[in-house]
Symmetry: C2
Subunit: 231 residues, 2 copies
DNA sequence: CGTACTGTTGAAGTGCTTCAAGACACGTGG
DNA sequence: CCACGTGTCTTGAAGCACTTCAACAGTACG
């Protein structure tokens, strides 16, 4: 179940990542005028942040962890259209009165800020910096969506997988990354779980991926992966 | 070459589609305060509206016609990430000072409004309705991008092609649509031109597509296409 | 200790690509 | 006006990448 940490009210003042997230540009004084509760939510893998079709009453900022945004085809098959990581914002459709467009499901233990619609609307009126920040987030989501299509839906399965891995290690230290289920990898790349499994196994054998003893993470040989990604 | 129609200044007042485009919600009095020239551009197939990397000084509204947004892979292959049709807006990255993210190239004879950055910024300060309208356009582009991935990059080539055709006829009267080059179809669906050609040919033979005598358009049997799209 | 779930691997089938050739429309110059 | 180039669409045949179906290993959990 979704576990809500000790209610923090407007603890945004002491938020360690405030400068990099949606409220970048806001002054401490602005934060103090937040009276609605901003919940800090901790979610474990497979837990659901929101479902497609839910009425959207809040926008979310990812503080840490990893989530997937999932859409479904008429026949019920799923397709993962984006990943969310630290500093990403999701649920912006809330600002337009639309229901959420995806299922947002946790892949790796996550910490998420839930920002009620009222807070955004109020801050938006009082402070013009938030508006710019919102546009930036919207555009970032759009750029991500386009990159996802070009990089992860084009070329051979091996190349797409290599690009996915490079994407996962980028921004993480030591070129290591924690993989997720083969089925999820499959629906990110539009391939079957078996093919995903075979490719990962092959990468391990060839040394492009290496197990780290005593860790769930894998070390990525980015040079090799880059060659494969070029296809 | 890009042909600029007789300069119209702020003829937005008499624009026939004003209510459905970016300036929906603006009053005639608002339009009168537009002093920068809003060019009305006519472009023929294969002409370029803008290129990826160009400094973005304007946002565009499509009045009629059809354009493609293209991104390129490191190896030079192209991928079409979205189509633009009447009432769509593109080039929103201009508002953030980013260069354009795609090549925007005309597929079918088009008429396009070029709205200089300064006009948007000025109207945005004077009139709050524009802000909402901008957010709506941003979200619409995002929804389009996600749908493109789920529908046109998932499943068999036949199913994807059927979904593309259904997309093209939706909104056009009489279930007819004008096709474009096989190569473009290929880079929309992530398949080769030969496969695109074979599938179209097969659709014609099976009756799912039918030539209209004396026209370049084709009639689509939506019932059949829907079955194929379900795959 | 059995059940359930995920990952791995094999073997057979098929759908798409690749390479190659021919058909057709278009414009250009002799 | 026809011959000729160029570009796009079509079609065939061969090869290969991915899927499908199936079996089995490993781990988690009651």
């Amino acid at each position: 179940m979704s576990k809500i940490l000790p209610p923090v009210g407007s603890d945004c003042v002491s938020c360690s990542i405030r400068k990099t997230v949606l409220f970048a540009g806001l002054e401490i004084s602005d934060c103090e005028s937040i009276h609605h509760p901003i919940d800090d939510i901790a979610l474990a893998p497979n837990e659901v942040l929101y479902r497609a079709g839910d009425t959207a009453r809040a926008v979310f900022t990812i503080r840490s962890g990893l989530l997937k945004l999932v859409q479904y085809l008429p026949d019920g098959r799923q397709r993962i259209v984006r990943l969310l990581r630290a500093t990403d914002v999701t649920g912006l459709e809330a600002l337009l009165g639309q229901p959420y467009q995806h299922d947002a499901i946790v892949l790796q233990q996550s910490e998420i800020c839930r920002i009620p619609l009222e807070v955004i609307q109020r801050l938006d009126q009082e402070n013009h910096k938030l508006r710019k920040e919102l546009m930036v987030r919207w555009q970032r989501a759009l750029d991500e969506a386009d990159a996802w299509l070009t990089q992860l839906a084009t070329g051979s399965a091996r190349a797409r997988m290599a690009r996915l891995l490079l994407r996962l290690v980028s921004g993480s230290e030591g070129n290591s990354c924690e993989l997720f289920g083969r089925e999820d990898m499959g629906s990110m790349l539009g391939i079957t779980t078996e093919t995903a499994s075979r490719i990962i196994a092959e990468f391990k054998r060839s040394g492009a991926l290496q197990e780290i003893p005593g860790s769930v993470s894998l070390k990525c040989d980015t040079a090799t992966l880059n060659k494969i990604a070029a296809d």
